[in-house]
Symmetry: C6
């Protein structure tokens, strides 16, 4: 993959959250490289409450890292 | 989405907790953009003990980040 | 809700742990606002080993935050 | 409950780990107060690989907190 | 195993993420040492949405550690 | 048990990772003290993709602690 994650620094918490969502998806792509298979699996999680909660948890973990990297946008 | 998360700073831990709940929900909306589908899924987690515990776990993760951002409201 | 979480500071680790238990429960109440439904769901987790372990995990996450807020009660 | 957790400080990492195990169990007791029910549930997790892994995860979370409290026993 | 993890330092966040993916896989290899069995299990997670989300969560945890080690590549 | 965890300090990240694997296993032993039962359960997780991912997650949590204890082996 190209240099898809050049920095953890974002201008705002909102952008940091969007980055966390992206980060949560890349590991899936690196584990299941077939885009057609990923598309096929999409309803399995997008229409399943527990899967959506699990997705949100991964985002929370990445957001914690991004937030720390940005010193919580306090500066 | 608009700039829904302009800051992690809140006046009190209670408000920080409410922000963490909001943060846990946004990732779900970003993954399942169809509001009607989300409404349909609501009973699947709101009436399921394990799902509610999982929701609480995501909130705990986001609250940890918000609390650190606010220096634990110690200042 | 009222200002149910005015501070993360507690006198002892024991009280911090009790606060963490309270914090783990509030997200459930905020997601399932119907007390009767919550009562109905209680056996589903209180009599299920995996659910109890999951509850304990949420408490662990909140306790980590409370402990950091209190500087691990080292002062 | 009495003051069962007076301090997070332990003499060694081994004792800190034992404390983390204790901390993981107390939340279960606080959620399911009936000792007979807890005894009944014991085989459900003690003879189930996934449950044992989940228990280990809770211990890992508490150990992280205890280790930080003890400054990783580096002093 | 040889010294497969000589350092947590990487040049970029992208490389740090790749390291986190590697770190998430090694524990699996250390638990299931039989490569043929691991190959057999691959479809079980690579074609399962919940498994892929779980993989992503492990990566998130390791990435947090790698990011902290690199001071979030802020220097 | 004897003093199985005298220190969190290791010479390299690789050794720190091996320690994290050990730490993830001890909680299982402390919860299920019967070695024969543990052996019986081994195929349940070693031949199950989701269980192996869960094991890897516990290792990730312990590795985070060990890495922090070692100041990420940056010194």
């Amino acid at each position: 993959m190209d240099n898809w994650l050049p920095t953890l620094i974002t201008a705002t918490p909102t952008e940091g959250y969007e980055l966390a969502v992206k980060m949560s998806r890349v590991a899936v792509k690196m584990t299941q490289g077939d885009a057609a298979m990923r598309d096929k699996l999409r309803p399995d999680y997008a229409e399943n409450a527990d899967s959506l909660i699990a997705v949100s948890d991964v985002v929370a973990h990445h957001f914690a890292t991004v937030a720390a990297a940005n010193n919580y946008w306090r500066d």
